[in-house]
Amino acid sequence: MLVYIARRIVYVIPIVLSVALVCFMLVHITPGDPLVAILPADASQELANQMRAAYGFDRPLPVQFWLWLWKALNGDLGHSIATGRPVLTEVLRAVGNTVTLAIAAAIIGFTLGLFFGLIAGYFRGTWIDRVATSIAIAGVSVPHYWLGMVLVIIFSVELNWLPAVGAGPGGSSAWGWDWDHIRYLILPAVTTSVIPMGIVTRTVRSLTGDILSQDFVEALRAKGLRETHVFRHVLKNAAPTALAVMGLQLGYMLGGSILIETVFSWPGSGLLLNSAIFQRDLPLLQGTILVLALFFVFLNLIVDVVQAAIDPRIKRT
């Protein structure tokens, strides 16, 4: 087991390095000089050169990469061009709000997904299956940013039950788990939850169906086990794969929150990314993407390790 974990961790190192390389290159695939965006149009050549030297853009790319990486490893992602504050501070504060949103959405999406998936797989071919499958396919096909707008139209504009935008009193910095804050969380969380709900439903449905058609289930029933006990065996067999899919979905929710956060002005990493893109704040753009991608890589690592730990069928040597 330990050997497996160690091997898996060693395998993460090249991935992390390449992720860093991609994030670094993002700034350099921009047409022209990264500084063009921030320099005033009438800047003199001299000033441009000074700025280039100050940011280190005059050095060869590989040198720049290693310097940037070394600083990043020491927790220095540079300073935001727009606000002048350290990028890491800005990103970490925003990520907290995104995590809040993702966890709330995960609770809704995974609970519903597991429920629909299990009953659809169990009652395969019946009307229950058809209803659950339709909900799932709608969940994965709906443009979630549009669903967010529709929910705002229904619950904020027409019914006036829930707030349309923001994260409650205190804005981005003072989140609390009380009704004054949670009412701001409901609509974005429900919107975020539809895709994972659909995907978990589809995965669990096909898993349950496959397991139920295996011989050992027949054997369990033949030996006189009650249906609830058979069900427990199905759960046990489906758990590792379902867990892996849910872990991946959590990662997608953390990293892909930009559209929903934009619709609801939710002050998380997605909204930060949005403002970084439109203010051409390249250090902030680079830093946010790096942090989110690393989150995703480590979440995948945890999922793999947990999956190996609970599934005796995976070889651990």
């Binding site: 992720v19 993002l26 047409p31 707008m149 705002v152 504009v157 027409e158 997608y252 995703f296």
Partner: protein, 295 residues
């Protein structure tokens, strides 16, 4: 003698392949859901292509006094947008750009990904490692984040949005193509082709492509739904199409400010994205079911 055998050998798989696809075609034409989706998609495609000849209002012609009309206002069957332009015309014309930026990345990804996967799967060894480890890097990013990161760095624009989405789909299709190819590579008929002196290119093109294309194609069809949502999403964020072009994602964005005045008109472009996306998803499911002959 040998010439006859050769001809027979070459004809046999071709006949069998045609038989398989005929069966698949017949199965899918009996599937009511798939057929309904195909009809809806065909209507949306046709109306987008034929938009100038449908007698619609000018999608660019605004009117300050006819702004944000409700649905079913005389002269405005689906209302008007924030600049008084006819919504029906804009939704139909919007299909042109929306479908192109949604589908083209998958087509490009399909072409590039299939080639890469086929090469990686057939060559094996170091070539495989080089291609597949590069693909792994892109899997380290959630796809929405990757698309937005690339488009955000490249700047707004239709071409940039197509490029960034293509970069998102190439690794996914490459992975599927590689795994299917690896499965086919060691089959007897490939060995036979190699023994009879066929070069790697001929083997890949003649003997393997037909066997791997089906599963990759179904996978790619499923991606169109995601691509439609993401492409419109990029425009929604302001990273794709630029105003005044009619495009569903961008229309959704500009109408967002109108949800307090005329909410249901503002939601219309999303209905189009949803319809196209769900139809492609159902069609892809139907195809997968039809191609699984064992059932």
């Amino acid at each position: 003698m040998s010439a006859i055998t050769d001809a027979a050998l070459q004809a046999a798989p071709a006949d069998k392949a045609r038989g398989y696809w005929t069966t698949v075609g017949r199965r899918i034409s009996r599937d009511k859901v798939s057929m309904a989706c195909a009809v809806i998609l065909a209507l949306i495609f046709l109306s987008a292509v034929l938009a100038p000849w449908l007698g619609l209002a000018d999608p660019y012609q605004g009117s300050m006094i006819h702004r944000l009309r409700h649905i079913a206002t005389p002269g405005y069957p689906l209302g008007s947008d924030e600049l008084g332009r006819d919504m029906l015309a804009r939704l139909v014309y919007g299909g042109r750009l929306s479908l192109i930026i949604g589908i083209l990345p998958v087509i490009l990804g399909f072409l590039i990904g299939t080639s890469l996967g086929l090469i990686a799967g057939y060559a094996g060894g170091k070539v495989n490692t080089a291609i597949m480890r590069t693909v792994d890097v892109f899997y380290a990013f959630p796809s929405v984040l990757l698309a937005i990161a690339i488009s955000g760095a490249l700047g707004a624009g239709i071409v940039n949005s197509i490029v960034s989405l293509t970069i998102v789909f190439v690794p996914q299709i490459t992975r599927v193509a590689e795994s299917v190819t690896t499965g086919v590579r060691n089959m007897d008929f490939v060995e036979a082709a190699r023994a009879s002196g066929a070069g790697p290119f001929t083997i890949m093109r003649v003997h393997m492509l037909g066997n791997v294309l089906g599963p990759i194609f179904v996978y790619a069809t499923g991606l169109i739904s995601v691509s439609m949502i993401l492409a419109a999403g990029l425009s929604f964020l302001g990273l794709g199409t630029k105003p005044p072009e009619p495009e569903w994602g961008l229309m959704l964005n500009t109408l967002r400010t109108a949800i307090y005045v005329n909410p249901w008109v503002a939601a219309l472009p999303g209905v189009m994205i949803f319809a196209v996306s769900i139809c492609f998803n159902l069609l892809s499911d139907g195809m997968r079911g039809a191609m699984d002959i064992r059932n």
